[in-house]
């Protein structure tokens, strides 16, 4: 007993205080996304984790009368996790047809304001019920199986159904279908990606997921997982659509562990329902459904019947409006509506004898997830055999499954200005004429003139990547660069800076040789150096005045003047000038080195 108390005291504490640990939110769901004028539907607003909330009593929306019917409270306990939810049920009475966007409901919980998700309701005219996407919107004749219908218990935790838009169809007709799987909102779990449907005698489009929604069935709130598809019968006669299985892992109510019931009996009761749950793998199946498939009616079937079954419209356009000789024009024919777009054939051109036409290209643009509604565009390339002022006409035939009659859509010719060119058709016609007249067929070997015109290339690679071309260009490039270098070097040598650099080099060499030259040659060589430095080799007489203008100290200038004097003496004295002594030579050499370049 003591042990039990130790175990259950925290458990009850969690029971009472744990409620507030879960996040509050508010959601809204329609009992049916579509209805007709005068047929009410319901909105269920669920507020999770709340004991009381304020909701609007009514919502004003033109065309819809929305009023609160009542509320209920639900407590759920799953493995000691307790959640409470408030459910408010509103009645919607549609007063006029149309698409209605129901705004989000504002729900006040304490000091917080929560908003539900907005909803969309299709209201059809009561006289012509047209369900969206070709699907029934749970009309009275096709209401989902009620919980009471399910064997075994009054309230089923889950069930599946197949909703077909019709029970009688033609071979090749596309029948929109929806597989719906209902899960009671009180149970949790995981649901498989898509149901598995295998059968014979029909093909099924890829299943498309529909956003899950909430729906009330026999007063119980269910989460609905739906998958839309299209079923196409492949043979006539009775067709059985087998059950489609959806795998799921659900937390279903389970029995209490041994000893728990005794414990609750001590307190005079039993364990609360939903307190203990088990995770179970389940397979939910839809009920098998029978269809009656008829073959395509033979009476009234056009010879060029396209194979289309449904309801279609046709539009055509041409571009360009003016075409030069031999240029093609494109005739675009768009078939739109609902039906078996994937199996239908192309429209037929009418009165195209003077046009050269080719099988059209086709492109389908679906406006739903099951390729049932949309438009298919065919593009015919047309080349005029002779000058034309209008395009061929277009004809498209289909079977209307509602009436069982074949309908023919026609498009009259469109104005265009197309000129005939030198088309190959003329060649073909010439050949066929020859065949008719029994003349021998022309030899496929061309005459020499034609053959000569067909010189062309003799390689699959462009000359751009031919080795000889690459080598020749690379060689020319190298030669060009070499010539450019030579030219640049020569140009640089002839420039003032080049000449100056050359002079400095010459001067340096002369000064170096002056240091080791014979004493008798010193004066003449030193003067030559001086004249080079002063750039006045051609005019030695100007050397004196140039030395005087040099920015040198007096002593250096005196040494250089002395050198010029010695040179004159050497030139003009008969006895020869005396050789300058070592000291004088050193001073002259030093003075020469000081001359700025």
């Amino acid at each position: 007993m003591y042990r039990l108390c130790i175990f259950f005291v925290p458990a009850f504490a969690f029971f009472f205080f744990g409620i507030s640990l879960f996040a509050q939110d508010a959601t809204a769901g329609l009992s049916s996304p579509a209805t007709v004028v005068g047929r009410p539907v319901q909105i269920v607003v669920t507020v999770r984790d709340a004991r009381s909330a304020e909701v609007p009593q009514s919502v004003n929306l033109p065309g819809l009368r929305i009023e609160l019917l009542g509320r209920s409270t639900r407590f759920e306990m799953n493995n000691f996790q307790v959640t409470s939810s408030l459910t408010y049920t509103y009645s919607i009475f549609p007063q006029q047809a149309g698409e209605f966007d129901i705004p989000a409901f504002e729900v006040r919980v304490g000091d917080k304001t929560l908003k539900t998700n907005p909803l969309r309701l299709s209201v059809g005219d009561a006289s012509t019920v047209q369900p969206p996407q070709g699907l029934p919107s749970t009309p009275s004749s096709q209401t989902p199986p009620s919980a009471s219908q399910a064997p075994g218990s009054n309230v089923r935790p889950y069930f599946g159904e197949l909703v077909l838009s019709k029970k009688k169809a033609y071979v090749g007709e596309v029948i929109p279908a929806e597989f719906r799987y209902y899960f009671n909102s009180s149970i949790g779990g995981e649901v498989g990606d898509r149901p598995n449907l295998v059968g014979e005698g029909f093909t099924v489009q890829k299943l498309a997921n529909v956003p899950k929604r909430e729906q009330i069935v026999n007063g119980e709130n269910y989460i609905v997982f739906a998958f839309q598809t299209a079923i196409t019968p492949a043979k006539s006669g009775p067709l059985e659509i087998p059950p489609a299985k959806l795998e799921a892992r659900l937390q279903l109510p389970g029995s209490a562990p041994a000893g728990f019931d005794d414990f609750f009996q001590q307190f005079g009761g039993i364990a609360p329902p939903g307190m203990f749950t088990n995770m179970q793998e389940v397979s939910i199946e839809t009920a098998p459904t029978s269809l009656e498939i008829s073959p395509l009616p033979k009476p009234g079937r056009p010879d060029d019947f396209s194979g289309a079954i449904g309801k279609f419209k046709m539009e055509a356009s041409v571009s360009p409006k003016k075409a030069g000789p031999g240029d093609p024009v494109t005739m675009r024919v768009v078939i739109s509506g609902q039906g078996n777009f994937e199996a239908m054939g192309a429209p037929v051109l009418v009165g195209d004898d003077e046009w050269r036409s080719y099988p059209p290209s086709e492109k389908f643009q679906s406006s739903d997830s099951i390729n049932y509604s949309g438009e298919k565009a065919y593009e015919f390339l047309l080349v005029a055999r002779s000058d034309q002022q209008q395009t061929p006409g277009v004809k498209f035939s289909y079977l209307d499954p509602d009436t069982g009659n074949y309908e023919i859509l026609t498009q009259s010719p469109l104005p265009v200005q197309a000129r005939a060119g030198q088309s190959p058709a003329q060649t073909t016609e010439a050949v066929s004429d020859q065949k008719k007249t029994g003349a021998p067929a022309p030899s496929p070997v061309l005459n020499s003139a034609q053959a000569g015109k067909s010189g062309g290339a003799s390689s699959w690679t462009s000359i751009l990547v031919h080795p000889a071309f690459l080598i020749a260009n690379a060689s020319l490039g190298v030669i060009w660069i070499l010539v450019l270098l030579v030219l640049l070097i020569r140009r640089q040598a002839a420039s003032p800076s080049g000449l100056r650099r050359k002079k400095i080099q010459r001067l340096k060499a002369a000064l170096t040789s002056l240091e080791s030259c014979p004493e008798k040659e010193f004066t003449s060589r030193a003067v030559a150096c001086l004249l080079t430095a002063l750039d006045t080799e051609s005019n030695p007489l100007a050397a004196g005045s140039l030395v005087a203008r040099l920015a040198l100290d007096d002593q250096t200038r005196a040494h250089l003047s002395n050198l010029l004097s010695l040179n004159e003496e050497l030139k003009y004295s008969f006895g020869g000038a005396k050789v300058p002594d070592r000291d004088t030579r050193a001073k002259i050499l030093s003075a020469l080195k000081k001359i700025p370049a």
Binding site: S361, V445, S454, G456, L464, F469, W480, L484, L487, R491
Partner: protein, 250 residues
């Protein structure tokens, strides 16, 4: 000894002349068979001729004729297309290709400015001429740099030649069908090929079915699957079986 040294020379001459003879023989035989209505045999000899010599537009055209007579429309269309790749100005091949496409139920592709240019101006001579003009302009720059007098005129002339030569080379490259259609391939399967949105044979992912003779541009390869682009720009995946490259592999 002199006699011995001449033996290899004689052998080389014999081999060379026999190769020339065989080449000429294949072509003559092919033409002869074609003229006598032996189309299948003509196809074989044309193929042998093409394999033994450099590709020529005329030879592919004749092969196409022989294939067409053998009721091999897709193969004939491929041969005509190859003939046009080598010489886009070869009008008989263009006409024959249009005819073959019409019989195959393939829409003729709307030719762009490159194709229209290539039909008028051969790309290889344009490239050669462009290169010559370019280098002439490049070397003309040297006298322009060397001589100070009239250098402006010379530089202008040289620059003009450079631009014209370069533009010719670029134009020849941009309009060369062997470069433009290097990744083109043709559907050869008699039943056509199915184009899928994803590389998987999932019927739900089917985009369309391409007729025999349809051409696609291969963008990439993943295992057995080719990612291709149709003439209209639509892209998808198809299995590479029965897809033949327009430019034959070496």
């Amino acid at each position: 000894m002199r006699n011995l040294s001449s033996i290899p020379l004689i052998a080389i001459l014999c081999i060379f002349s026999s190769v020339l003879f065989i080449r000429g023989d294949y072509l003559e035989q092919a033409r002869d068979r074609l003229a006598h209505g032996e189309h299948e045999s003509a196809v074989t000899f044309f193929e042998k001729h093409i394999q033994s010599t450099r590709p020529s537009s005329y030879a592919y055209y004749q092969l196409g004729q022989a294939l067409q007579k053998s009721e091999k429309e897709a193969e004939a269309a491929l041969a005509y297309r190859r003939s046009l790749l080598l010489d886009p100005r070869f009008a008989p091949a263009a006409e024959a290709l249009r005819e073959a496409n019409a019989r195959l139920g393939v829409s003729p592709s709307v030719s762009g400015w490159q194709a229209r240019w290539a039909e008028k101006v051969p790309s290889d001579p344009t490239m050669l001429l462009g290169a010559v003009v370019f280098w002439f302009g490049a070397f003309l720059l040297f006298p322009a740099l060397a001589f100070s007098k009239r250098s402006t005129i010379l530089v202008f002339l040289a620059c003009m030649l450079l631009v014209v030569g370069l533009a010719s080379c670029i134009l020849a490259t941009c309009t060369d069908p062997r470069i433009l259609e290097a990744r083109q391939a043709m559907v050869m399967s008699l039943s056509g090929k199915t184009l899928y949105k994803v590389p998987s044979e999932d019927a739900f992912e089917k985009i369309t079915t391409l007729n025999q003779g349809s051409t696609v541009r291969i963008l990439s390869t993943r295992g057995r699957w080719l990612y291709v682009e149709l003439t209209g720009g639509q892209r998808g995946w198809l299995l590479q079986e029965d897809i033949t490259s327009v430019i034959p592999s070496a």
